[in-house]
């Protein structure tokens, strides 16, 4: 338009200087020019409008294509992402949650709840309705373990801070009822353990930085935070019901014998799955800030002690397996202490002039066991112990695995004999449980695992004992419970077999007479063993409840005797008083009597 406009004044100027025909021609020329210009203008406008419409149509079509083709997927992904927990869930073998992410309440002090203001030191209005001392006292009523001085200091400060994390809803309600607007409850995703301290050593805990510690939280840390895998919960081998019963009975045994601690394990003899693992006293994984203390020490897999007489069946099994003990009626002298290389091996008390092998187990005779080991020879017993993994850390996923105290080099005669009855070699209860599993399951040793094993996927394991040896050991272990030191573990109908062991703990000046480790290792049902149950009590005392006794027969064995009827039906073992392992061929060899 502007390009056409300038000639117009010139045309009108020319019009004033001509007249007549010239004027008419000039007017027609002007009209034609005007028309041509108008046409050009119209065409230009149509072109612009058409271009706009074309653009709009193209945009609409593109949008339709975008909506139709690409817009659905991102929405779906977003919901999946939102449902994906920040850290994967841990469950027990039946799917009950052991650890999960939970939007928990935190208690947050916000001094600017009433807007910007000066702090208390400058004489301004406090954000609290009441005085900080009153509020702190009220908070102490809800959280008795809190630090009063620290609370007062925080409430007087003009800086916002956490007063507490992982507040239970009912506690949050109590604090809300105080009517303090400066106390806020932001919801934060926290690691939560619904079962509290149950199985704390096996599960572990997560610190404030989201890192797992102690148990499977540490072992599976990478798997649990991997976005590709954390949506699926990880099933552990633990059974919470069995775990609860185990901790309950161990706690009771601890209380009754006034002991320092206790350890217990329930192990599947066919798969090596750890159905329950307890180390008492336990810690509270829900307080990640306080969890790391001395109680995280795992007495099952990390503590190594000379476990004493519970090792004797392994020696006897090794001797039967090697063909050294073929006739169980052969008698060994046991009347007086055995003197080997200037050291005396003696029994807790005399069981008579001679004992055969079943009697030695029933009465728990060190003298006879040492003689059997001597006859077997150090290399054979050492090899059996090696095959049972006694020279290595226990096989389990946990990071806390104690290294056994293992006699180095070739064993001397006295080493062989002391190891035969459970001294001179320190192992963890987990070592012993795996060895007992091998001894009763037909002779196959398998590593223990805390991961659930699907049927048919058990580790192949390695053969340590012959099947016939295992069958004989089942008879002998059953007899120890029927007529020997393990009578108090004889749960009716569950065909329990096992061995007691009470060993003195080593101190600075040799063995301590007053400090025992009392252990009872058992398996049930002995006609077809399914589970090994081991209970170990640390430094039990003789109390009225234990008839003044502190050996395993009076604390660990009764605990197992109470535990097995509770867990047997849960694990699919139905009690049957009419069924038992046949011990008719070995029973006549044993006169009834008590030993340690």
């Amino acid at each position: 338009m502007n390009a056409i406009a300038p000639p117009l004044p010139a045309a009108f100027a020319g019009r004033a200087s001509f007249s007549g025909t010239g004027r008419a021609q000039g007017e027609r020329g002007q009209v034609a020019q005007l028309r041509a210009r108008s046409l050009l203008t119209a065409k230009t406008r149509v072109l612009v409008v058409a271009a706009l419409f074309g653009l709009g149509t193209a945009t609409a079509l593109a949008r339709i294509a975008q909506i139709g083709l690409f817009d659905r997927a991102p929405g779906m992904r977003s919901m999946t992402d939102r449902l994906l927990p920040p850290r994967g869930e841990l469950t027990d073998r039946s799917g009950a949650p052991l650890a999960r992410e939970l939007p928990a309440y935190a208690l947050w002090f916000n001094p600017k709840a009433f807007g910007e203001g000066k702090n208390a030191s400058q004489g301004a209005i406090s954000p609290l309705v009441r005085t900080p001392e009153e509020v702190a006292r009220a908070l102490m009523g809800v959280f008795p373990d809190a630090d009063y001085a620290d609370l007062v200091q925080r409430l007087k400060s003009d800086r916002p801070s956490y007063l507490r994390r992982r507040v239970l809803p009912e506690d949050a309600n109590k604090i809300y009822a105080l009517g303090e607007p400066a106390l806020e409850f932001p919801r934060e995703t926290e690691r939560f353990y619904p079962q509290g301290s149950l199985a704390a050593h096996a599960v572990g805990y997560v610190d404030e930085n989201g890192q797992g510690h102690v148990g499977m939280e540490e072992v599976l840390n990478a798997r649990l935070i991997d976005p590709a895998q954390r949506g699926q919960p990880v099933a552990l081998a633990l059974d919470m019901r069995v775990q609860g019963a185990l901790e309950d009975e161990l706690g009771r045994a601890m209380g009754e014998s006034n002991a320092k601690g206790a350890a217990g394990i329930v192990l599947d003899v066919e798969t090596g799955e750890v159905v329950a693992l307890a180390s008492l006293p336990a810690f509270n994984p829900n307080r990640g800030d306080l969890a790391y203390n001395a109680l995280v020490f795992n007495r099952v897999s990390n503590q190594v002690y000379e476990l004493g007489s519970v090792v004797k069946p392994i020696t006897i099994a090794s001797a039967i397996d090697a063909g050294v003990v073929t006739d169980l009626s052969v008698r060994y002298p046991s009347g007086k202490p055995l003197s080997i290389d200037g050291r005396l091996i003696h029994d807790s008390h005399s069981f008579g002039a001679s004992l055969n092998v079943p009697e030695a187990l029933v009465h728990s005779s060190n003298i006879v066991t040492a003689q059997v080991a001597d006859k077997l020879g150090a290399p054979a017993l050492r090899q059996t112990m090696l095959n049972l993994g006694m020279s290595e850390r226990p096989y389990i996923e946990l990071p806390a695995r104690g290294f056994p105290i293992w006699p180095k080099g070739n064993w001397s005669r006295i080493t062989n004999m002391t190891v035969s009855y459970g001294h001179g070699m320190a192992i963890s209860p987990l070592h012993l449980a795996c060895a007992y599993a091998a001894m009763v399951n037909g002779g196959i040793w398998r590593p223990a695992t805390l991961m659930k094993v699907e049927p048919g996927h058990a580790v192949q394991g390695r053969r340590v004992f012959k099947a016939a040896t295992s069958a004989r050991m089942r008879q002998l272990l059953r007899m120890i419970v029927e007529v020997g030191t393990g009578k108090k573990a004889n749960a009716v109908g569950f065909r329990v077999g096992g061995k007691t062991g009470s060993a003195e703990k080593p101190g600075k000046h040799g063995y301590q007479k007053s400090a025992l480790i009392a252990t009872f290792a058992a398996a049930f049902p002995m006609d077809h063993p399914r589970y090994v149950v081991l209970a170990s009590i640390d430094e039990p005392q003789g109390t009225q409840a234990t008839s003044g006794q502190r050996t395993a027969a009076w604390n660990a064995a009764p605990a197992v005797g109470r535990l097995i009827p509770r867990i047997g039906p849960l694990l699919g073992v139905v009690p049957d008083a009419k069924r038992d392992v046949d011990i008719s061929d070995v029973a006549p060899l044993v006169a009834s009597g008590d030993g340690e």
Binding site: F53, P97, F192, G244, D248
Partner: protein
């Protein structure tokens, strides 16, 4: 004419464009509406799942093993079933319903304390055998639940029945293996009695009438359900004042043990 055709075409194009634009607008609006609806539903799903998980976790926490153990210690006192409470097969189950033969030995019976405050009730004392009749001590005080403060009278009495006569066991020796089993058997027997009482009566009263009257006694009572029939016969006091509230927890309590339990007679009378 040609001009009008061209104009018409232009108008047609314009109309087409307008329709397209309108359709695009409508489509966009509908798509947006649907999308926000989907997002809202997604938000709801996420919120509900989180809430479900939260509630599940709270439930798991409140019903944790330690909590259940504490409850059981204080309030319920359940014990694991003993070996005698399991059945091996269907045949053993069928044996439980077998009527006694003509020359069968009299089944072992259990003495029972009456409801009266002074030891045995007249009925029970007069009909009981030697062991129960010998007992003349005071009645057992009702246990009171530390949580509810209400007496758990029947449970105590059934336990007391087991131990009452001079500490002797009144159950057959082959059936009682441990004291725990004896306790659960007593529970079962009490539960059977309560069930018999309930089944043996018909509520004839109207809505306001709470009194139950005993129904007819079936002629084949000892065969069909001997325990129920006998119990209803021996406990006249309970018939007059039925306590449905007391009977209900007793039944629930005996539930775990009832699957494989051999029914024990709970009366002091001979079978018909």
């Amino acid at each position: 004419m040609s001009l009008s055709a061209r104009r018409l075409r232009s108008i047609g194009w314009l109309a087409l464009l307008a329709v397209c634009a309108t359709l695009v607008l409508v489509l966009t609006l509908r798509v947006n509406a649907l999308r926000s609806q989907v997002r809202r539903e997604e938000n709801r799903i996420v919120a509900l799942r989180e809430e479900t998980m939260y509630l599940q976790t709270e439930f798991e926490t409140r019903a944790s093993q330690q909590q259940l153990k504490a409850w059981n210690d204080v309030d319920f006192g359940y014990v694991a079933p003993g070996a005698g409470q399991y059945l091996e097969n269907e045949r053993q189950l069928a044996m439980l319903g077998k009527p006694a033969g003509p020359d069968a030995p009299a089944p072992v019976r259990l003495a029972e304390l009456g409801d009266s405050a002074n030891g045995l009730s007249g009925d029970a004392a007069s009909t009981s055998g030697t062991a129960a009749a010998a007992y003349s001590g005071p009645s057992f005080p009702a246990m009171v639940s530390p949580l509810t403060g209400k007496p758990s009278g029947r449970a105590v009495r059934s336990d007391a029945v087991m131990r009452a006569p001079t500490g002797e066991r009144l159950l057959a020796t082959d059936d009682v293996d441990a004291s725990g089993q004896a306790g659960s058997r007593a529970d079962h027997a009490a539960a059977t009695a309560a069930l018999g009482e309930r089944l043996g009566h018909v509520d004839l009263g109207g809505p306001g009438k709470a009194v139950r009257k005993p129904a007819h006694k079936p002629p084949a009572k000892s065969k069909a359900n001997p325990d129920a029939a006998k119990t209803s016969k021996v406990k006249p006091q309970k018939l007059k004042a039925p306590k449905p509230k007391a009977a209900k927890p007793k039944l629930a309590k005996a539930k775990p043990a009832s699957a494989g339990h051999k029914p024990k007679t709970h009366s002091t009378e001979k079978p018909a």
